[in-house]
Amino acid sequence: MARTVSRPEMTLAEKAYVPEIVKGLKVTMGHFLKGLFTPETLPVQSYPEVPSVIPRNYRSKHRLMKRPDGEPRCVACMMCSTACPANCITIKAGESADGRIEKKPAKFEIDLLVCVFCGLCAEACPVDAIRMDTRVVALAADQRRKFKVGLKDLMDWDPKDYPESDTQSQKAPGGLLNAEARKQWGIS
């Protein structure tokens, strides 16, 4: 169905341009005076002294979830690296020490410069091993190779930084539910 777009004719005052200029000048002067006399009302944040608040569900730098004993939860199934549209995940599988689990990643590397932060890896993971909720967005390094983060970097997170409601994170070593989880796993 065709939609009629109304194109209102300009009035004489608008065509004359000068009254509209005066209106525009009023707007800018209003903003100027408001900012000058009540600077505390401006929608401004003193970044970087005051860090910005990033929501939990923001897709930021990745992390690998940990089992209660501190091993990576990843089973090296290659789902994430297959799903990755940027091909930034490199996984090399190795044998797991735990008899109940077949594989573990011997190498897990993400090139953060190549990553497009789409979140498909986190969605593809069948064991909820990779997450993108660290809220780290300011990635900086002086060399390109330092942007290739490996297992050690990805697992270097603290359960205390995550809320109590995030039970999966709290089962990792140092978390609130770790002792309980270790008991369930049968490890002391």
Binding site: I21, T28, H31, F32, G35, T38, P39, E40, S46
Partner: protein
């Protein structure tokens, strides 16, 4: 041995006035940045500070310093295929022109002083030419050479496009600029800028007799200085940057400074032609001299009130502490505390000076060779007052430039040409015609 000739040395001392537009450049840049940011609901530059002065930031004014250091220390790049001589020459032209133009602007009223050859009149212009305003227009038109030459010598098609657009625009608007200013020449009956200002002091400001001419002239000056909404010579999305795209470091800085010096000159020109020039409203030069104590006292009192107002603003801006980090808030508290005390003390001190000026300064004429003239200190004091008045008017016009830039969207190129040739030129011609008829009927 040469006799000490006071008028000669006064004329030499007047050359210092050439540097006024240069001194106005950092103030204009500060005005632009702070005005722009507050109009866009931002704070604007506020991080640069002087470590030697306790990390004071002076509300972002210090930002000019690192910018200048950066421009001076960066690499002076010359692109391959550029015409080196012209490439190096071009950025100097706008700033050189901006340094030349103040020589024909009257900065204070003519004064009569006693010299080696009797009483001599010293003009407020460095170059007291009868056709001073023509010199001014000629110099103002010269600055387009810097733009076109730089654009052509850069050996870059984007720069050339920007330069062509700038030159076409400036030439178009120079026509309506001259024609809109012609009205005031007809009314006054002189090309001499000093006489135009004196006429305005005796009758009324030019903006009252030539309101249409004022608007046209101001608009033409926006186009002439290449400011928004007429910034055709620049355009990130169309021609990368404009005529200065190949310039880096201080050569780019020269263009940048030339633009702001041009704005200062434009402000001086508008003030001189339409806003009473160096005259204080409702007082001609003679009245200022007779009441120098009162006038200077009132001005110092006004400055004192401004200082107290700034102190009040500092206390007001202290409300943003709550939004800063702890360390930052401590630093700002210290700075704002010191500034508050400084400005309050300065305001109170200057109020005392104002009272002293009103009471103590009692100018009286002295007789030299049978003619009553004002003593030298009265003349010099009046000159200082009048230069200050003109500076205030220039800064007000500079503020209008900033204000308009952030209020209006820029024109398309064909709209600029249509406005210049089809509307402004015609309005200026009609204005000139009406003025000529009225002037003939009134003056006879």
């Amino acid at each position: 041995m040469i006799d000490f000739d006071l008028p000669f040395w006064l004329s030499c001392a007047k050359f210092a006035l050439v540097f006024i537009p240069l001194c106005l450049i950092p103030i204009c840049i500060f005005l632009e940045r702070k005005g722009a940011s507050l109009m866009q609901d931002r704070y604007g530059p506020n991080r640069a500070n002087i470590p030697l002065l306790g990390g004071f930031r002076f509300f972002g004014f210090v930002q000019n310093l690192p910018d200048g250091i950066k421009l001076f220390t960066k690499e002076n790049f010359i692109p391959r295929g550029a015409h080196t001589f012209w490439y190096l020459l071009a950025p100097m032209i706008p700033l050189a022109v901006a340094l030349l133009t103040p020589s024909v602007i009257p900065w204070f009223g003519p004064m009569v002083v006693e010299g080696a050859r009797g009483l001599t009149s010293v003009s407020g212009q460095i170059l007291d030419a009868d056709a001073g305003v023509l010199v001014l227009f000629a110099l103002s038109g010269l600055s387009v050479y810097g733009v076109v030459l730089g654009a052509w010598a850069s050996n870059s098609k984007y720069a050339l496009l920007g330069g062509m657009r700038a030159s076409a625009q400036m030439i178009s608007y120079e026509v309506s600029m001259g024609l809109s200013a012609a009205g005031i020449f007809l009314v006054v009956g002189s090309f001499s800028l000093t006489q135009i200002v004196e006429w305005q002091a005796a009758h009324t400001w030019g903006i009252v007799v030539q309101p249409v001419g004022f608007v046209l002239f101001l608009t033409s000056l926006f186009a002439e200085t290449g400011r928004a909404p007429f910034d055709m010579s620049e355009g990130e999305s169309e021609i990368v940057a404009g005529y200065f795209v190949e310039y880096s470091a201080i050569r780019f800085g020269l263009y940048y400074m030339g633009e702001y010096a041009h704005i200062a000159i434009a402000g001086a020109l508008v003030s001189t032609l339409f806003l009473g020039g160096y005259q204080i409203p409702f007082m001609d030069t003679e009245a200022v001299r007779a009441n120098l104590g009162l006038v200077s006292g009132a001005i110092v009192a006004a400055i004192a009130l401004t200082a107290l107002g700034i102190a009040w603003m500092v206390r007001r801006w202290a409300r943003i502490y709550a939004r800063l980090s702890a360390k930052d808030a401590t630093d700002r508290k210290r700075e704002y505390g010191v500034l508050n005390i400084l400005f309050t003390l300065a305001g109170i001190g200057m109020l005392a000076v104002a009272v002293a000026l009103v009471v103590l300064v009692q100018p009286a004429k002295i007789a030299v060779a049978g003619i009553d003239v004002w003593p030298l200190w009265v003349n010099l004091g009046t000159a200082v007052v009048q230069v200050g008045t003109l500076l205030v008017k220039i800064l007000a016009i500079c503020w209008v430039f900033v204000w308009v830039r952030w209020a209006l969207p820029r024109f398309r190129y064909d709209q600029v040409m249509a406005l210049g040739w089809k509307i402004m030129l015609n309005v200026a011609l009609v204005n000139l015609l009406v003025t000529a008829v009225v002037a003939k009927l009134v003056k006879g």
